[in-house]
């Protein structure tokens, strides 16, 4: 099978273009400069990665994001490079032939292929809420994961359960890692995840033969080691206490921090503030909208997209105060009554 370098040349790109991409990739992955040679060699010689991409309870948004990666590899190279043996949204065969192709790929590339899962898994009622070709999603996942060289959960749904998992979670949606138990799963959360991050993790696996270094929640440390707030270009405004008061007032136009408008950047781990979106063009905060924390577990259930982080989640208000005071008054009256009784005795 072709290597990345061969594809570059076949598509009419120069060696210089190839080297530029590898350099960028190494930088994004945080490789030390000394390992540049190793990366070039690996991508010149190693065959392109075989990917089996399963979709369960998803919206195909992660796929949409993936195929729009443009920073690291040109999109024509990317689509050639990742050998997608099975992908319900992107492949042309369907029905029996599609399933046959998957079975064959699993057998042929045993232990070598990368399994990517998009969407949450639903084990409830024997997995009846999500089936493909008569098999439940749990069965399909286990079957494909068994022989995979690497399992990647892309998107917040596959990583944490995501929107299907939101209250009241009618299908009993769970993350991929919960079904696979001890098996290592690389989580690339986000709704959707940044395309370049997905591509970089795959290419990094080709170069090193190992999964990236992960944090305690299975996320690659390179991309999820810091919060949006840690790297936000509006941080100086935050530190200076300059907060935009509404979406379109003078302070918003001056680019003040979006904390008051509900920014969840301080508690959200993702690479938006560094790698950004659409070829590094921009990211939500840059376009004036607060981060709503799409890459964090249960972001949907937090239910306070536009209220500032510091408010009590679920509210307290006068009702809470009155409930507290009423309890106190009742207890006070009771204890005074008891005291009085003692005194009378």
């Amino acid at each position: 099978m072709e290597s990345l370098y061969h594809i570059y040349r076949r598509r009419g790109y120069t060696r210089r273009d190839f080297l530029k991409s590898v350099l960028l990739l190494s930088a994004v992955l945080g490789f030390p400069p000394t390992s540049f040679g190793q990366a070039v060699k690996a991508l010149e010689l190693k065959p392109k990665p075989v990917v089996i991409w399963l979709e369960f309870q998803d919206c195909a948004g992660c796929t949409e994001s993936f195929i729009r990666s443009t920073s690291i590899l040109p999109s024509d190279v990317l689509l050639d490079y990742i050998s997608l043996e099975y992908h319900e949204t992107l492949m042309s065969p369907s029905g029996f032939y599609a399933e046959e192709a998957k079975r064959e790929a699993i057998e042929k590339y045993k232990g070598k292929y990368i399994l990517i899962v998009e969407g949450s898994v639903s084990p409830r009622n024997k997995g009846v809420y999500c089936t493909v070709s008569g098999k439940s999603n749990v069965e399909l996942l286990k079957e494909a994961a068994q022989n995979a060289g690497l399992v990647i959960a892309v998107g917040s749904c596959a990583s944490w359960g995501g929107i299907p998992h939101a209250e009241p979670n009618p299908t009993g949606a769970v993350p991929v890692s919960q079904i696979l138990g001890d098996r290592q799963v690389v989580n690339i959360p986000g709704c959707p995840p940044i395309s370049d991050v997905m591509v970089a993790v795959i290419a990094g696996f080709v170069i090193t033969g190992k999964p990236p270094e992960l944090d305690s929640m299975g996320r690659p440390k390179t991309f999820y080691g810091q919060t949006i707030h840690d790297r936000c270009y509006r941080r100086p405004f935050y530190n200076a206490g300059k907060l935009a008061g509404s979406f379109d007032d003078e302070s918003a136009r001056k680019g003040y921090c979006l904390y008051k408008l509900g920014c969840k950047g301080p508690i959200t781990r993702n690479a938006c503030a560094t790698i950004r979106w659409n070829g590094g063009l921009s990211f939500p905060i840059q376009s004036g909208h607060p981060c709503f924390g799409c890459s964090e577990p249960n972001f949907w259930d937090r239910g306070f997209i536009y209220s500032p982080l510091s408010v009590v989640e679920g509210g307290f208000g006068w009702k809470g105060i009155l409930a507290g005071v009423a309890t106190g008054v009742a207890l006070g009256a009771a204890s005074a009554a008891i005291n009085k009784k003692f005194r009378e005795k």
Binding site: K242, K260, E313, F316, T327, L331
Partner: protein, 223 residues
């Protein structure tokens, strides 16, 4: 437990629980006394008790303000205490993140202070707290009056001020969420602790000083 799970816990259920305990505890202690009642007093008030109650609350903090009193004998107490209270209360209610929280809780349009002022208050509060604590440990009379309660309270408040400063002044590497959560956890503990400790003077101070003023007013004496 992941850092965001912990964060959600301390700012959600735990904060709501702490606030409930705070309001219940403060009103319990107040009404326990109120319901006991005062012995009937049939004498006609000689002065104006309500006026005197308010007057006492307003002028009490300045009553010892003579030059000698402040600078020759109780400088640390006066200046430290003043700076600390100003700083701590200012920070608690008017720093933007906090003001937004109290706005949500009370529905009142609480104003916010600029960051520079917040910083000055924070350093003033932390520095004076340190000075007051050391003073407590060294001054023989204060030492006698001090129990574990005071040291614990001072430590808790110091830790809250420190973690709050860290959260705003330090980028925090990957630990920002933990720092913020620790700050909030400690604040939750403080909110629960206030009604059951001497820190409750934060509410009762006004009641007891007011009561003293009211009594003085009733008897027609001056403070």
């Amino acid at each position: 437990m992941g850092d965001t799970t912990f964060y959600d816990l301390v700012r959600g259920p735990l904060l709501r629980f702490a606030l409930f305990i705070f309001f219940a505890g403060i009103s319990y202690r107040f009404f326990r006394v109120v319901f006991l009642g005062l012995p009937p007093d049939y004498a006609k008030p000689k002065g104006n008790p309500y006026y005197m109650a308010v007057k006492k609350i307003v002028i009490k903090p300045t009553m010892g303000w003579t030059f000698n009193e402040i600078f020759s004998r109780r400088a640390v107490n006066f200046i430290g205490g003043f700076l600390f209270h100003l700083g701590f209360l200012g920070l608690t209610f008017f720093v933007p993140a906090h003001a937004l929280l109290w706005r949500e809780i009370t529905g009142l349009p609480i104003p916010t202070i600029p960051n520079l002022l917040g910083d000055i208050l924070a350093y003033a509060a932390l520095g004076s707290l340190l000075a007051l604590t050391i003073h407590r440990m060294l001054n023989p009379v204060l030492k006698l009056l001090t129990g574990k309660d005071e040291y614990f309270a001072n430590f808790l408040i110091g830790a809250i001020l420190f973690t709050g400063l860290l959260a705003t002044k330090w980028a925090g590497g990957g630990f920002y969420v933990w720092i913020l959560s620790t700050h909030m956890l400690l604040a939750d503990l403080l909110i629960i602790y206030i009604p059951f400790s001497r820190l409750s003077h934060f509410v009762y101070y006004f009641l007891s000083v007011g009561f003293m003023g009211w009594n003085a007013g009733k008897r027609g004496v001056s403070f």
